[in-house]
């Protein structure tokens, strides 16, 4: 049976898009597309559903609670494949995962390898994600793990502590509050091959609404380009309406970091356009994680994504 997206009174296709957290700069492109009418002019009626710690995007997709969802990292589509869930990544707007490790300032620290033996403050979701890659690459062990509840105070209190963060978020708030500039290691710069801020779509939905999906990706790409390089004020206003705890200075510095580090338009995006994914990156990611024992070696990792809805394809 077919799964057509609902149509609203104005004849636009209704799409609900579930993000992975409360509105923030990391969702800026989508908000920008909403604010500038990029979705609307393609005949889409997009509603952004904010996520949170308990919002399980894959489950929402699997049950049809939303049409599209955000995938935070490359583990998520692979997990879906491993469990036989018919959901795929259809675009990746962050070429580099902005995941960082944060340490106290220390001249002697030359790289992530020097962090061996230290306590790592990690959020629940990270333990089955990039921590697996860190363990495999640097030989860290689970007993180093402490829980990060999105409050950096325990990190600040302990000189030896290392905590996870988003490039755009924690380094700034730690600096603001504690008054020191922490050491920040962008995992992507150390070869962490995960994509981030992916668009996930159920297979049946993608098949039956290919045009709308292409429009969504194209409009989002336009939104991201505008957000990084153009006037972001309209998107910022929408973000702050959805998330009153967000402040403008946080948004501004976050956008700056996205731009400077080429998170959105670096890597393959420079070549193939925003949202691009490549077989090679996916294979590299799968190889690393399968070697670490996360996935069976015979997993059909190619089912985790498709590039056929990206602009200029199909």
């Amino acid at each position: 049976d077919r799964t057509e997206a609902p149509i609203d009174e104005q004849g636009r296709v209704r799409l609900r898009f579930a993000t992975d957290w409360r509105a923030q700069a990391e969702h800026g492109g989508f908000y920008q597309a909403l604010a500038t009418g990029a979705y609307e002019k393609r005949g889409l009626n997009v509603q952004i559903v904010q996520g949170g710690p308990g919002v399980n995007v894959p489950q929402l997709l699997a049950t049809g609670s939303v049409e599209l969802g955000m995938g935070s990292n490359s583990f998520i589509p692979l997990n879906l494949v491993a469990e036989g869930a018919p959901v795929k990544a259809v675009a990746a707007f962050f070429q580099k995962d902005p995941q960082v490790l944060i340490a106290h300032p220390d001249e002697a620290l030359t790289g992530i390898a020097d962090l061996a033996g230290r306590p790592f403050l990690l959020a629940d979701a990270s333990i089955t994600a990039f921590w697996v890659w860190l363990k495999a690459k640097y030989g860290f062990t689970d007993d180093q793990v402490r829980k990060y509840t999105f409050n950096p105070a325990p990190f600040i209190a302990d000189e030896r502590a290392v905590q996870q963060g988003y490039l755009t978020s924690e380094p700034y708030s730690i600096e603001q509050a504690a008054g020191f500039e922490p050491r920040v290691f962008l995992l992507a710069d150390e070869g962490y091959p995960s994509y981030a801020t992916m668009v996930l779509a159920p297979n049946a939905f993608a098949r039956d609404n290919a045009a709308a999906l292409r429009s969504f990706i194209a409009a989002s790409a336009e939104g991201w380009r505008d957000y990084i390089h153009g006037d972001a004020s309209a998107a910022d206003a929408l973000i702050r309406r959805d998330n009153p705890d967000m402040t403008q200075d946080v948004l501004t510095q976050a956008r700056e970091k996205l731009r400077v580090n080429g998170i959105v338009d670096g890597g393959d995006a420079a070549l193939y356009g925003l949202g691009a994914m490549t077989n090679e990156r996916w294979q590299a990611f799968f190889d690393v994680t399968a070697q670490a024992g996360v996935y069976p070696p015979n997993l059909n990792w190619r089912d985790a994504f498709t590039t056929q809805y990206l602009p200029g394809r199909g």
């Binding site: 609900r16 579930a18 409360r22 509105a23 559903v49 904010q50 996520g51 949170g52 710690p53 308990g54 919002v55 399980n56 489950q59 929402l60 049950t63 609670s65 939303v66 509840t149 999105f150 409050n151 950096p152 105070a153 600040i156 209190a157 978020s169 924690e170 708030s173 730690i174 603001q176 509050a177 504690a178 959805d242 998330n243 009153p244 705890d245 946080v250």
Partner: protein, 254 residues
Amino acid sequence: MTRALPPLLLTAVLLIVWEIACRALAVPSYFLPPPSAVAEALVERAPVLAASAAQTFRMAFQALLLAGSLGGGLAVLVSLSRRAERAVAPLAVTLQVTPVVAIAPLVLIWVGLDNADLAVVILAAAVAFFPLFSGVLTGLKSADPDLERLFDLYGATPLQRLWRLRIPSALPFVLEGLRVAVGLAVIGAVVAEFVSGSGATQGLAWRLLEAGNRLRTAELLAALVWLAVMGLALNAAVAAVEGWVRRRSGLGAR
């Protein structure tokens, strides 16, 4: 007035000690801000916090009503049969030890993402359920055995026995269950919002999370102050009901 004096006095003493300790030890404010900073945050963020608190309170209250009617109702039902009690009690214990975070996604999907508030209420009710269920059940079984015999003698129906003997006898235990449940409903509303609140819910949970994330600890504590006020208000309400029950049952004030 004098009733309120001891808690106010103790609170004042604790606050002063805290303030002095913060200043003397120069504790950085993102670890533990002095009470004065919390007070400042309370004033500054008053409108936002009050609105969030109202939202949380509403959900906690609805959860309490839900938990009370389900927990109390189920307890009353199973109290009519030893078998039913034995069958249901393990399920109630199971519900009690099930972490909200584990069932939140299921509930969220079940009620639909557009009804995140309802999901919060249901989850908070699950948290507050057990003390009410258990309190009512224990209470219903605590009637004076000689009065039970009297009801046997007069051939009371199970419903008459329930209504005229067991429920009045149960009140002390029900009130104790309620006292525990009001706190759990409040905390349940916060936790449920943490785990199931999509952006749509605007209760105190997000204030806490964001404040913590941004290391605005004074604001975090200000949100906790609102939670405490809420808990105390509900507790005072229970105490008022208790006073009324005691007067009504002629047990006199304690």
